[in-house]
Symmetry: C2
Subunit: 125 residues, 2 copies
DNA sequence: CCTTCTTGTTAGTATATCCTAACACATATA
DNA sequence: TATATGTGTTAGGATATACTAACAAGAAGG
């Protein structure tokens, strides 16, 4: 299974929710992402089959090592791009929404330039 | 018909090719975009039915007023975003490729900030 | 205990986007 | 003229992503 945009977003969301509450359930993901239960159910089953997360018999969702690795990379990228837009002057909510889409399409090269921009900004250059 | 990402790209491409050669043919679009002839054939037929372009009996493709308006807006956006990435240090080819995807997802708000950034850069600020 | 709410699944569908195979037709060329 | 080449269409599929309807099963509360 290739990791596509939707899959990356689901993994990222599991990571975020797991930092906010004890157990991550499908219903939490539905609420957070605004998708229907069947959509989330099927997507998570495929991610579990592909080895990116585990769903306990009780329904608690945890990232596997490989799933966590992807989720953390996506999340970091998401935050950095959002930060970048906020520095340009975009409001926080829009910056995060834009970053959520864009992170999946931006080349490594441009992302590196954005990180460099953030580093320079931090050092007051 | 709603204008989606692919449709915007086709209209933009017609505009670009029309600036490069006398007559725009489907084959030119296939070559430029790397899509199969059936894909382009069907997409252009739909754009024609929706009133965004005309296909002459001889097969020459021209944008209508509404099609041109969209194409020009998309093209300008594409160029501005690419310019922006080039200023950050991304190479031209990658900058254009990134811009081609991103232009469809970026909010008006962030795009305005990017244009502002370009204006400031031009004025040496 | 029965009803209701929450949660999750299965089955079927929709849309956007692309593809290949096969064919039609015009033009160009040997 | 016969064949090859280029261009476009139709028909049928594939994939990614989402939806609704209908059902199942556990928990909560009267």
């Amino acid at each position: 299974m290739n990791i596509h945009e939707a899959a990356e977003n689901y993994l990222e969301r599991v990571l975020i929710i797991s930092g906010e509450k004890e157990n991550v359930r499908q219903a939490d993901i539905c609420a957070a992402m605004g998708h229907s239960r069947p959509t989330v159910s099927v997507a998570l089953r495929e991610l579990a089959q592909a080895g990116y997360l585990d769903i306990s018999p009780a329904g608690n969702i945890t990232l596997t090592k490989s799933g966590r690795k992807i989720a953390e990379a996506v999340y970091e990228r998401h935050c950095n791009i959002a930060k970048f837009f906020m520095i340009l002057g975009t409001g926080e909510e829009t910056a995060y929404a834009d970053a959520c889409k864009i992170e999946h399409y931006l080349s490594e090269e441009s992302y590196e330039r954005i990180k460099e921009f953030l580093r320079n900004k931090k050092n007051g250059r």
